[in-house]
Symmetry: C2
Subunit: 249 residues, 2 copies
């Protein structure tokens, strides 16, 4: 099936029953990789550090899933993403020549996740979608991170929800169930929007509607992200504007 | 001390240390009484119900504190404000000639709290304040109520926080402490903004900064709200634009 055929696929459903869209953020709304590479290059130029910033971004993000898994499985108690990001960063400092950074500089670098840039059409797309549906973040990022990011990037959320509110990480069912409860809606009136199959499968498992949004450059141009077959989710969209068009927003 | 003298009072403090403002909502941001009276009159005209809508609004609001107190004291388990509002409403139907309303009509009336109108300068004031500080709701209203209200009234929150996230009601300390934790700030970098002394005292007790905003018409023109003496809180403001001016926003 070609991209063109897939992108036009919307499962027959009653769009008017949808009350809210919940959005994954890292990779779906914002381009973590390009932002980290850009800030890394700037830091490198200031400090005279020569590093492979793309490899640095990938290694940092690579530590993310294992760190969250240790919380999900109960191996360690709840910890915010800011804490997990910092632990992963500390483990990479030597390898990327960053051990000379001061504590303030390390903290500032760690907060690059609060400053991630949106994909080019994301802010406009969310603005269009929220004319028809309540638009909420539902991210593994903590509330402060998401609030700072929205302020910095101008993301017009109706409200910000986070795994932090369930003290568990997606795709644990409690995160999606907590979000639907806080939105005051049954799960089948909430649609999860994400560029990641495991996230959408988690949402689907509790009865949410699901929209896959294709972000082919999330991991750079050399590595393709996982793309689901048509029919796996309710909507398959090329970006947020396409999603808005498919949902009549 | 005259109003003019009080309104110019700002305690000497380091405004630049403030990272976020948290706002009480019912009475501070929105005029619950005027909105309920207006919707009541419209309902009355449609249904041929003659009632004292001001007395109805006051009686409904009058049940609010006792209902929350029963949760705060542990007399009953956690329940959202939507549930408490509905219980109070059900207890008023006979008295105000509303027993003929259908279930859908009762539910719609109960959700008037999701549709409350802001005070005239509130949206502009929050818009100005959030240029300098993160602006978050921190209300006893539940998340869905606050999200619907913000969408309906165009309130530009950076994020919505609620007592619901602590499963306790203000002025229980856990509500303020949960909010500061979610904002990622120590309590002394958060300023609570409210028209109610008990709310500001609750915030002050956990170390937050406090701004009193005078809303003389909250309870109508016949009943004055409690006003604190100058010096009781960090700021005494006549409205949100005055607060913005005093905080340099």
């Amino acid at each position: 099936m070609t991209l063109r055929e897939r992108c036009c696929y919307t499962r027959v459903m009653d769009v008017s029953a949808i009350g809210a869209l919940t959005f994954d953020v890292f990779g779906t709304v914002v381009d973590w990789r390009a932002t980290i590479i850009r800030e890394g290059r700037r830091l490198g130029a200031e400090k005279g550090i020569r590093a492979d910033w793309a490899a640095f971004a990938d290694a940092w993000r690579g530590g993310y899933e294992p760190a969250m898994r240790s919380v999900r499985t109960g191996e360690r108690p709840w910890a915010k993403i800011d804490v997990l990001h910092r632990e992963i960063l500390d483990g990479l400092l030597d390898r990327f020549g960053l051990s000379g950074l001061t504590e303030d500089e390390r903290d500032h670098l760690n907060r690059v996740w609060h400053r991630l840039d949106p994909w080019p059409e994301a802010v406009e797309g969310i603005g269009r979608l929220r004319r028809r549906f309540a638009a909420a973040a539902l991210s593994n990022g903590n509330m402060a991170l998401l609030t700072n990011m929205a302020r910095n990037a101008g993301i017009p959320w109706d409200c910000i929800l986070s795994s932090e509110l369930a003290r568990q990480y997606k795709p644990d069912p409690s995160v999606y169930l907590t979000a639907a409860d806080l939105l005051g809606l049954p799960t089948d009136r909430v649609m999860m929007v994400a560029a990641h199959v495991h996230d959408l499968n988690g949402a689907k498992a509790v009865g949410m509607r699901t929209a896959f949004v294709h972000r082919p450059l999330e991991f750079g141009s050399n590595r393709s992200p996982e793309t689901p077959p048509a029919g796996a989710f309710d909507v398959w969209a090329t970006d947020f504007l396409d999603l808005a068009a498919q949902l009549g927003a």
